[in-house]
């Protein structure tokens, strides 16, 4: 059915002769030769050879009308070449005779000829047509172009010629009208000529009908036959019988005209499909139809409609080869969409029938038609069918096209469907790329383009748009591949000699995001050069590129250049807030907070609802310790601007947390308030996570809350509920938090997450892993210059040293602390820590069994202890009104009379509170140790008694002996208190009685002597060293007394100098322009 209904819209255009077809009554023409001879040319008997006539014309030099008349006559008879020859001779002849006023009409004639030729030329040349090879032919466009040129010539000649007759003008106008008509410039043509035809094309059938009838009245023999038009109109108006009659009449009048036959044929074909008719009748109709169409096709082999219809018939008859040829011909000649589509359909159908079910060409062509008809979904379906099993075709073009289509937003597609489409498109692009890569591999292997390569269309590989489309698809998920794809696009662009600066910019952005700043910088700079070459319209482009360039300067640590770039940007666009923010950021990082603040306030005044700006300002306020201002500001953001702004939510979460943690209020009301704040903090983070499940900052915030048990009792800092298994819970919390941190680590490029992981490992007593995490943060992110991380490292080593009784570890702890002080000499808390570690390391050394220490270490230990004492003295008497440590503790330590478990000074007073988080664990341990100690108390008392008595026995002995003994006793005591296992040892001494104690002491003494003698022998010659050694021996007892007490509990309750975990709110500003940049 479709064949008819669509074909009927298209009829052949009237041959152009209609405008020239003057009604010569006699059908003959007289030409005067030299004034006497008159030659009569019989117009009805012209043959295709125009040489004779031409000779006559040249000789006679008649008026222009004769030339045109004759040429027109030839044309009318279809001898286009002859007509053209005559016209060209005419131009020649008139140009040589100088009568330019005659030229316009000839030009218009020539144009008409071209148009006539155009009508018979293929519209589209299939480059790979298999049967109907047309490459030698000029395409319709070529003829059209020539015609246009000729018309313009005509106009020109007319203008130059001055006076021309109104008739000539009219002629020109008419020719142009037809030309316009052929070119489908309907509006223009409507005014001029053949209103009916136009009306028909515009589907105003009734008025068209009227006009056609008028024409018929005026000229019953008019060619083309108005009856065809009448029939068409009638058909369209559903007067099918009348239409048929009109066509029949037309065929009667003009038996050689193919259009009437075609239409009748089609009608018959249609009728043959009418189920109401009997089988016989239908066969009859089909026969008639075929015959008519065949005849029509034979009389005009190049009619797309006829070819199409015939093709249909052949298909039905199963003559596929001929059908294919006809279908291809249809496609090549079709000048309306519908016919073209129809051409593809039988092509496909034919192939389906042949069993080669999927013809790439047909499918793509068909899909393209559907696209032009705005049937995207149908096109997708067509291509899908092509590419999917069974028998999937490997067509890169089709794959790329389908991917692109899937990506293209269509109306009425839900967002989830769209996401699905994106996934599918991605797969398809992946396939295309794999194919390209494979073929490149093959090429590389064979050294020459392989066979495979030829199947790979360069058109696809070099399609910049496709690369860009794919890159855009990838950019949110896989940066590395995005970069590759952009690079490919840039390569293609380079090959073509022109690279879009935006492409370079995007490639730069990818490098930038992957932290390859050097490359990014080069890309941006090139893009900038490219953009500036484009002139003024690329202004927006170069602005963005310059901004990106400035960002990369920042990342390259070249603030000077970045600053210059921002200033340049602000000069051009004074209200470019992003540039202003970055400027403020640089100023802020250079401790020029006031200038930065002014800039930000300035920006806020002009764009108070810019969320990026507000996020940055919040960050700025927090950075500069204006947390109260920050809180108000962030609530303002949430309340007045966007209550779903992720940055504001995270900031609010952090601020609540911070406020609660820093609160010192221990009254019940204050505690309640803190609980509330913690809860709200968690709520904010949860909300942020709800909005973006991948928000690393919120996840990290929540993990911190978990790790520090802020929702529970904050590690005992808040009055606890029943929490017997506090320790266990802490370990569990830390583990939970670690899991989160590990995930966050994958997605953020920031040291804070490593620091937090370090804290968690520390809380879980996994010191080596804690150290590892801190090291990563310190080295990779902070260049070893972050004081608080250095402090954390020192603390971890310190605890490790105590745990493993390792002097070496203690030395490392001291090293990190000194590094911290070197970076920040103003911080006296670090000085305190240095003194503490020094003292500690001395104690540790003395407590080691002599085999495990060297003389040199011992000496150094003594020096440390002495020095530490002096420093504590200095710290204790510091005249400053406020010191970041406890003066009394320093005083206590100075006197080394003893100490409390809490010795380590947190770097920051502010974090003391969370320090208590770690205290619980400590208390737990402390308590355990205490019970053990109490259990041993009796035994110890016994031991003391024993020892006292023993010493009384030996009171007469040499003082040297006595000193040894006292020392030994203290050593025993110390062991009892410090380590549970060694308690056995202490216990055993009294159990064995005085006799039992003796060997022990002796052993000790021996060992010491051994160490001493070994050392002495090693350095026997050095008297000074020997003296130092004995001095050390003497000093030791006093030192140990201090140590004894201190060791009761291990000093590790110190709080992570947990610098408030830094949050970066700046990330959003990072190259925020890149999206808009995508071409």
């Amino acid at each position: 059915m479709f064949a008819f209904s669509q074909t009927i819209r298209v009829t052949s255009w009237p041959p152009l002769t209609s405008i020239l077809g003057t009604q010569a009554p006699g059908r003959s023409i007289d030409i005067e030769l030299g004034g006497q001879e008159v030659i009569n040319i019989e117009l009805d008997t012209l043959d295709s050879n125009a040489d004779d006539v031409l000779e006559v014309l040249k000789e006679g030099q008649p008026k222009v009308a004769y030339w045109t008349r004759l040429a027109g006559e030839y044309m009318r008879r279809g001898y286009l070449d002859a007509a053209e020859k005559i016209a060209l001779s005419a131009i020649e002849s008139f140009q040589s005779s100088g009568s330019t006023s005659s030229l316009p009409s000839i030009y218009s004639l020539l144009a008409s000829i071209q148009l006539a030729k155009a009508r018979k030329a293929p519209k589209l040349k299939l480059l790979n047509a298999r049967q109907d090879i047309m490459t030698a032919e000029k395409s319709r466009d070529d003829y059209m172009r020539e015609a246009t040129q000729l018309l313009n010539h005509g106009d020109q000649a007319a203008a130059e010629g001055g006076e021309i007759s109104a008739a000539t003008k009219e002629l020109l106008l008419l020719t142009r009208a037809i030309h316009q008509l052929a070119n489908r410039s309907m509006e223009d043509a409507l005014r001029s000529f053949e209103a009916a035809r136009i009306l028909y094309t515009r589907r105003q059938f009734a008025s068209a009908l009227k006009l056609f009838q008028q024409v018929l009245q005026l000229n019953p023999y008019s060619l083309p036959d108005p009856r065809i038009g009448i029939g068409l109109c009638l058909w369209a108006l559903n007067h099918k019988e009348k239409a048929k009659a009109a066509w029949e009449r037309s065929v009667e009048v003009n038996p050689s005209e193919w259009s009437g036959q075609l239409l009748l044929g089609l009608e018959a074909l249609n009728a043959s499909k009418n189920p109401e008719l009997s089988e016989d009748e239908r066969i009859q109709e089909l026969m008639i139809g075929s015959k008519l169409i065949e005849r029509a096709f034979n009389s005009n082999q190049r009619s797309a409609s006829a070819a199409n219809a015939l093709c249909d018939i052949f298909l039905r008859k199963g003559q596929h080869k001929r059908a294919l040829k006809l279908a291809e011909r249809t496609i090549q000649f079709a000048d309306t969409l519908a016919v073209l589509t129809d051409g593809y359909i039988p092509l496909q159908a034919k192939q389906a029938a042949e069993g080669q079910s999927k013809n790439v060409l047909a499918a793509i062509g068909f899909a393209q038609m559907q696209l032009r008809n705005d049937e995207t979904a149908a096109a997708i379906h067509t291509l899908d069918g092509l590419l999917q099993p069974p028998n999937p075709q490997k067509s890169l073009e089709a794959t790329a096209m389908l991917a692109s289509l899937r990506l293209h937003p269509r109306p009425g597609v839900s967002s989830s469907d769209a996401a699905q489409e994106r996934t599918k498109a991605r797969e398809l692009f992946d396939r295309v790329y794999r194919a390209i890569e494979q073929s490149e591999d093959a090429t590389a292997q064979n050294g020459s383009p392989s066979r495979n390569d030829s199947s790979l269309s360069r058109a696809v590989v070099d399609d910049v748009d496709m690369h860009i489309e794919f890159a855009r698809l990838l950019q949110s998920e896989n940066l590395e591949r995005t970069g590759k794809v952009f690079a490919e696009a840039v390569r293609v662009g380079e090959e073509a000699g022109r690279v879009d600066p935006r492409l370079l910019n995007n490639l730069g952005v990818v490098s930038h995001l992957e932290s390859r700043f050097g490359e990014a910088r080069i890309m941006y700079e090139n893009a900038l050069v490219g953009a500036s070459a484009l002139g003024a319209e690329a202004e927006a482009m170069s602005t963005s590129v310059l901004y990106n360039l400035a960002r990369v300067y920042e990342d390259l640590n070249d603030e000077g250049k970045a600053m210059e770039a921002y200033e340049k940007l602000l000069e051009r666009h004074p209200e470019y807030v992003d540039a202003k923010i970055r400027r403020a950021h640089i100023l802020g990082s250079m401790h020029q907070g006031n200038e930065a603040h002014d800039l930000l306030k300035d920006s806020l005044a002009s764009q108070s609802s810019n969320l990026n700006l507000r996020a940055y300002y919040t960050y700025f306020l927090i950075q500069f310790n204006a947390s109260k201002g920050a809180r108000e500001f962030v609530f303002g953001t949430l309340r007045d601007h966007d209550k779903h702004d992720l940055y504001a939510l995270c900031a609010a979460g952090w601020l609540h947390y911070y406020q609660a943690r820093e609160s010192r209020d221990t009254s019940s009301k204050g505690v309640e308030e803190r609980r509330l704040l913690f809860r709200r903090s968690a709520e904010f983070y949860e909300k942020a996570l709800g909005l973006d499940p991948l928000c690393a900052v919120a996840a990290q915030g929540l993990a911190i809350v978990t790790a520090e048990d802020a929702l529970g009792t904050l590690g005992g800092a808040l009055p606890p509920g029943p929490a017997p298994d506090e320790t266990q819970r802490r370990a569990m919390n830390a583990r939970d938090a670690l899991e989160v941190f590990a995930k966050v680590r994958e997605s953020t490029n920031d040291g804070s997450v490593h620091v937090n992981m370090g804290h968690c490992f520390f809380a879980r007593d996994e010191l080596d892993r804690a150290i590892e995490s801190y090291e990563t943060a310190s080295q990779r992110y902070y260049g070893g210059r972050n004081v608080s991380v250095l402090q954390c490292l020192a603390r971890s080593w310190y605890v490790k040293a105590n745990k493993e009784q390792s002097f070496a570890s203690m030395t490392v702890a001291l090293r990190f602390t000194q590094k911290a002080l070197h970076i920040q000499p103003v911080d006296k808390a670090i000085v305190y820590n240095i003194a503490m570690i020094q003292q500690k390391s001395a104690e540790l050394l003395f407590s080691l069994p002599p085999t495990k220490r060297t003389l040199a270490e011992l000496q150094r230990g003594i020096a440390h202890a002495t020095h530490a004492q002096k420093m504590f003295g200095s710290l204790a008497s510091d005249p400053a009104s406020a010191v970041p440590y406890d003066r009394d503790l320093a005083e206590e330590r100075k006197n080394t009379k003893g100490s409390r478990p809490r010795e380590w000074k947190a770097r920051d007073k502010g974090v003391l509170q969370s320090a208590s988080a770690f205290e619980t664990l400590e208390r737990e341990r402390e308590a355990k140790l205490r019970t053990e100690a109490e259990a041993l108390a009796a035994a110890r008392a016994l031991a003391r008694q024993e020892a006292q008595q023993w010493s009384a026995d030996l009171v007469k002995n040499e003082s040297d002996e006595e000193r040894e003994q006292r020392k030994a006793r203290k050593a025993a005591n110390r062991k009892v208190k410090s380590e549970a296992p060694s308690g056995d040892e202490g216990l055993s001494t009294p159990a064995n009685g005085g006799a039992g104690g003796e060997p022990k002491k002796k052993r000790r003494k021996l060992k010491k002597g051994g160490a001493a003698s070994a050392a002495a022998s090693a350095q026997a010659s050095d008297a000074e060293d020997g003296a130092l050694f004995s001095e050390g021996e003497e000093e030791k007892p006093t030192k140990k007394r201090g140590a004894t007490r201190k060791r009761v509990a291990r000093e590790e309750d110190e709080e992570p100098a947990s610098a408030p975990r830094k949050k970066q709110y700046i990330s959003k500003a990072t190259i925020s322009d890149s999206d808009e940049e995508m071409p």
Binding site: G560, H591, G784, R785, Q818, H822, V831, A863, H867, S874
Partner: protein
């Protein structure tokens, strides 16, 4: 213009920790370095061998100042213990524990007066204290120069002619005192971040500051006959991508050296105000020092010390 410096020598026995200051002395072509490991070493510049070591201090050493004749080295530890070391005899002839109370704040940076007999120290107070450098009275405080700001003093340095003293503080300001009158003559506020290093030109007319803000700034510090300070900051040297930790002006006054946390050493042409050479090192370059003019006539060699504890000698390409 571009100059090439080649790596000439590494020390034989590196320090156990970062080298925090260094000085190429005028005597015996020797180099003195101090380290975070608490040890000061005197090196032979020809062999890279240690010539002498002073007994180790328990804590790291942060500041070093060698007398112009190369005979004495004054150095200070992180805790504020100041030592005067006789480089010839190898003995400590003075030790002062600046943190002992009552007294001033512990010293951080110290500078030996080129005219001898005194040294200057700065630290937590943000002021400069002048102490005796005589062996008998070593460390006794003589006077105090007030900066008027309570900021931590990061560095103090005597002008080569001994008439003036420059002080830099953690917030980036630089103060210049006239020692004869004990008055503050100029204040410069070109930096907003800590200035960790100051160096004078040999003629005492230029001062170069190296700051955490990644810049070096050159000041014209000449005074007019009436005693008024002249123009001040005359050039800003940019190019380092992290803190500038150390600096030194060459004996001929043409070139400057800088070491940075970006792990590079740069040589600058002061007239052109541009870097003429950049050398990559393995870690933070905490200390740089030119070979003094009494040993060499041109700016042909220097020595550096950094995070890896190795003392490195460098020389201009083409010199022996």
């Amino acid at each position: 213009m571009s100059l090439a410096y080649v790596h000439a020598l590494d020390c034989a026995e590196p320090h156990g920790d970062a080298v925090w200051d260094i000085s190429w002395t005028a005597k015996d072509n020797a180099v003195v370095s101090i380290s975070a490991d608490g040890i000061v070493k005197r090196w032979n510049s020809a062999s890279g061998q240690v010539m002498r070591t002073a007994p180790a201090h328990t804590l790291g050493l942060v500041s070093l100042s060698v007398s112009p004749d190369g005979k004495y080295a004054l150095y200070n530890s992180v805790d504020g213990t100041t030592f005067l070391w006789d480089l010839e005899a190898g003995t400590i002839i003075g030790k002062h524990e600046s943190f002992t109370r009552p007294g001033a704040e512990p010293s951080w940076s110290v500078s030996l007066n080129p005219r001898g007999s005194t040294f200057a120290a700065t630290g937590g107070s943000g002021n400069v204290t002048i102490h005796s450098a005589e062996a008998e009275t070593f460390g006794e405080q003589r006077t105090t120069l007030q900066s008027g700001r309570g900021k931590f003093g990061m560095r103090c340095s005597h002008s080569p002619d001994g008439s003036r003293l420059a002080l830099s503080v953690e917030s980036g300001q630089i103060f210049i005192f006239d020692l004869a009158s004990g008055t503050l003559t100029s204040t410069y506020t070109s930096h907003a971040m800590a200035v960790r290093s100051l160096s004078w030109s040999p003629d005492s007319q230029l001062l170069l500051s190296a700051s955490e803000d990644k810049r070096l700034i050159l000041y014209d510090v000449r005074t007019t006959s009436s005693g008024r300070p002249s123009s001040g900051a005359v050039a800003s040297l940019t190019g380092h991508s992290s803190w500038v930790l150390s600096s030194d002006i060459s004996p001929d006054g043409r070139l400057a050296l800088s070491g940075s946390a970006d792990k590079t050493i740069k040589v600058w042409d002061l007239a052109a105000r541009a870097a003429v050479s950049t050398i990559a090192d393995t870690g933070e370059v905490w200390a740089v020092s030119w070979q003094p003019s009494s040993v060499a006539t041109s700016s042909s060699a220097f020595v550096t010390g950094g995070e890896d504890g190795i003392v490195r000698w460098w020389k201009a390409a083409g010199t022996s």
